[in-house]
Every structure is written in structure tokens, then in C-alpha cells.
Amino acid sequence: MRSSGEAFAKARAEKRAAFVGYLPAGFPSYDGCIEALRALVDGGVDLIELGLPYSDPVIDGVTIQAATEQALRQGTRIADVMRAAEAAAAMGVPVVVMTYWNPVLAYGVERFATDLAAAGCSGLITPDLIPDEAGDWLEISAGHDLDRVFLVAPSSTPARIASTTAACRGWVYAASTMGVTGAREATSSVAPDLVKRVRETTQLPVGVGLGVSNRAQATEVASYADGVIVGSALVRCLLDAADVPSGVKAVGALAAELAAGVRG
């Protein structure tokens, strides 16, 4: 199993930021998702963030909502997510799963961790689980050698940033806009400040999610962060495409653009 920290270490060795790409499992179909992940890897992604489709995605914007709803309608279940994660992990880059906490609880935290490790995944990003509520997960993830990626936000106090980064393993996810996921035009001065505040508390790499959708934005975020996280823009490629092959092609093209972006 690879640690997700490897992706950041590799990028750092090349004196650049890592490109972290998100796609939800089972979208646009199980096979279509695998092809899109392959296009993402071929395009130069450093770390795959595989989304677990959930019925109540309270911090996702319309793009990811539409994609995960489609995945669920087609019958995507946790077993399919694990299967997709295993296929992705075999593509040569580390894989983390991003999931709301309820599906993990329903599946069983220990069982989820066991399956995740068996699939060759590095760990979990948990957008609605704060370390204060994560007692089980802190213990079980350690037992399975899995990464724990918690989120920090612009509204986090210094004390909360410190306690959150202390609970992270692998890297820290800086959700740098107040709001739901989605591509954004505007750049923000909030994000560099947040990254600076995180670095005051930890040596772990910091990935920034800021609604990046193009090369120029990727370059800008890469100038101050260790990782540039892109989700909605990649999902949008598949949503807007006339068919799966052209969507996959668009994902590959955007991935190559973003991979160039993090290289300055």
C-alpha cells in the first residue's frame, strides 16, 4: 500500500506542487469511471481522490451532487467503490477515498478500514467528520496503517487548526472557501493565509481545494500550496460530454492541462 504522502514527496522532489484529482466512483458508470481514472493517471495526476456516492451530500455543490446522484441511481454501492479503488490503486498512483461519515458507520468502521487497506488505498478524506468525533477512526486507521485527512477551513481558530492537523496523517486538506464544492472564477487571498496558518502547526503537506478549473488557477494555487485539489471541473467534463468516450477524453485533456499547471 502507498501512503498518500508519497504523492506529495514526489512532487516536492520535483520542486512543484502535487495535482490531486477527484472523481466519484460509479460515475458515469462503473466502467466509465475506471476509464476516466485511467485518463486522469495518464494525464499526470499525482494522487486520486475517489468519491463515495452518498444520498445526503451536504457540502457538495450541484456538479458533484448530479454525478453522485447518477452513480447511486445506477446502483453504486460500497462494494463497487472498493472495487473501483482497487482498480485505481493498480494504476500506479496513491488513492484516497473521500466519504461522508454515515456510510462508513453503517458499513462498520473496522470493516471499512479492512476493505480499504485490502484494496490498496492510502486512507480517507472525511469532510463531515471532525477529529473531536473521530475516536474510533483515529484508533482503527492507525491499526490499518491508513491516512486520515481532516479538513481545515478559513473560519477555523488557531487552536482548532492545531488540533486538527495533529490528528491528520498523510496530509491536510485546506477547504479554502466558505461554501460547497464547485468550480470558481475568482481567486482568493483567504487560501494563502489559511495555508500559512496550517504550516505554523504541522510539517504535513497541505492540499488546497478552491474550485480550481484551469491551468492558470492551478499554477497560482501551486505557488503557495503543496497540493492542488480539483474535483468539480473534472466531473463537469463527464457531465457535459455527449457520450462516455468523449467525456473520458475531456478528463484526460484537462488532467494534462492541470498537471502542466502545477509545474508552473
Binding site: D56, Y100, W101, D132, E133, S155, R160, M178, G179
Partner: protein
């Protein structure tokens, strides 16, 4: 208002807690601090009491339903929460939370609503305090309850018909959370159920508990004793916890909650989450 036990009521055994994005934690901390201070602040309690009396129309009547009692063979008293301003018990909690919103200096409130009663109460309180108000309602519910939608709009609220998921209450609540995480600096989310992340469950219960406090005193006046049983319907739980809370220390009073059976528990198509559900995390808390 009945101020209740304990200082820190973030968890109820394995339940409660805060299963929300980190971005909301600062706002929940601010709310908890403001609420904790208000609980023991005589000025807040006086103002809340005055609003309940002079605006909501409390105390609500305890009505002796004599003919119904004859028919069922037990003396039945009805706590007439329907006689409050806006026609439901919802106004109790909403007035409390709106006062807190004012204390936090936030100019905007949002709410989710199913049938529309909590939305109407929130829109009404927002109009009373001059706050901006957005109410999220599942598209299916806006069609079923068009009259309440018109009423909220008349009160100056924006009503958003939510088209995601099952287009009902749970999706309206998801959408309200999305709004809140985006606008949390200026906005308070008036949750209407005894759910959501801490401090909401304890706070909503406390603001609603005036129902039981009154009912208990009215029973003692009328009957010279406590009732044998208290019955309440359970949806989001504010009505049930509102009347049960004052009777819990009494021990001998039976407390019965009634949930919506839908097409039958065995079909899975029901709203009886306590009877037929399983523990999980939804809308920010474990329940």
C-alpha cells in the same frame, strides 16, 4: 422557560455530537456560547417570556375534551398548541432562536420546512425582528402545501423549492446546510427539530419545553394531580420533547410518542425512525 440540567449537553449517550464540516464549527461554538449565556441571563429570559405571552399568545389552553373522553373511556385533555400565533408549537423555538440571532448580530436567518409550519413561524419571527429570511422546502412539499408557501412569501421570506434527492424535507435540510456553510458569517440556521449538530438538540428542546411546563401546572390546577400519561406525535421531535421534558423527572407519568406509520413499518415506507430505523449520522448529529 424551563432551564434544564447540566451545562454541556453536546451528547446524549452515544447520540448527538457534531458531524459537520469544520467550516461550521466556529459558528456552532458562537451559538453555544451565546445560548449558554442567554440561559442564565434574566434579561433574555424576560424578553423571551414577554414574546411568548404577548406575541405567541401563551399560555396555550389545556382543553378538557369531554365528548372525546366519553367515547374513548379515559379523560383526555388537549394542550392546544394550535392556538399559538402561526398555528403551531413551532413559534416557541423560533422566537428563542431569533432572539439569539439578534444577540449574535446576524442579519439573516434560514430554515428548512416540510409541511410549512416551521417555515411560516421562521418567516413570521424574521418579519417581527426585521431579519432577512430564506426558507428551503422540498419541491414536492411546495406543491402539497402551496398555501403555506404563499404565506411565507407574504411575510417577506424567500422560499426555495429544493429539487435535489427525494425533493422533500431531508433534501430541504441538506440545501439549508449548504446555504449555511456558504453564508455562515451573516446567517443563523433556525433548525426546527431536536436534531442537528450540538448545541441544537438541547437548545430546541429547551425552547420548546414551555409546552410541558405549562401543561404540568395546568394539570395540577385542574386535576389536583399529574396525568397518568402524556401522549405526543413525533416527527422531528420538538413537539414531543416540548411536552415530555417537564414530566421526565416525575417518573410515574407514562410518556408515549406516536410516529407516522406510512404504508406500514414492514414496508419500509414509513417515518417511524425510532420504531423502525437504525442509528446513523444525518444532518449533523448521530441519532
Amino acid at each position: 422557560m424551563a432551564t434544564t440540567v447540566g451545562q454541556d449537553e453536546d451528547r446524549f449517550g452515544p447520540y448527538g455530537g457534531r458531524y459537520v464540516p469544520e467550516a461550521l464549527i466556529a459558528a456552532l461554538d458562537e451559538l453555544a456560547t451565546t445560548y449558554r449565556a442567554a440561559r442564565t441571563d434574566p434579561e433574555f429570559q424576560t424578553e423571551f417570556g414577554r414574546l411568548l405571552r404577548d406575541y405567541a399568545g401563551r399560555p396555550s389552553l389545556l382543553y378538557d375534551a369531554t365528548r372525546f373522553s366519553e367515547a374513548v373511556g379515559a379523560r383526555v385533555l388537549l394542550k392546544r398548541e394550535d392556538l399559538n400565533h402561526t398555528g403551531a408549537h413551532k413559534i416557541n423555538n423560533v422566537l428563542g432562536q431569533t432572539l439569539l440571532t439578534q444577540r449574535m448580530g446576524k442579519p439573516r436567518v434560514i430554515a428548512e420546512t416540510g409541511a410549512g409550519q416551521h417555515g411560516v413561524a421562521t418567516a413570521t419571527a424574521a418579519a417581527l425582528f426585521g431579519l432577512e429570511c430564506t426558507v428551503y422546502m422540498g419541491e414536492v412539499d411546495t406543491e402539497r402545501q402551496a398555501l403555506n408557501v404563499a404565506r411565507m412569501r407574504l411575510l417577506g421570506a424567500e422560499v426555495v423549492a429544493v429539487k435535489s434527492g427525494s425533493r422533500t424535507l431531508k433534501d430541504a435540510m441538506n440545501e439549508a446546510f449548504r446555504d449555511w456553510v456558504t453564508n455562515v458569517e451573516t446567517t443563523h440556521y433556525v433548525i426546527g427539530s431536536v436534531g442537528g449538530p450540538a448545541p441544537f438538540p438541547a437548545m430546541v428542546r429547551d425552547f420548546a419545553s414551555i409546552i410541558g411546563t405549562e401543561a404540568r401546572a395546568q394539570c395540577q390546577d385542574r386535576l389536583g394531580r399529574l396525568p397518568d400519561a402524556v401522549l405526543a406525535c413525533v416527527g422531528g421531535g420538538s413537539n414531543a420533547m416540548g411536552i415530555f421534558t417537564a414530566f421526565i423527572p416525575d417518573g410515574q407519568v407514562g410518556l408515549y410518542g406516536f410516529e407516522a406509520g406510512g404504508e406500514g413499518i414492514e414496508t419500509g415506507k414509513h417515518a417511524a425512525t425510532l420504531t423502525g430505523g437504525s442509528p446513523g449520522v444525518l444532518h449533523g448529529s448521530r441519532s
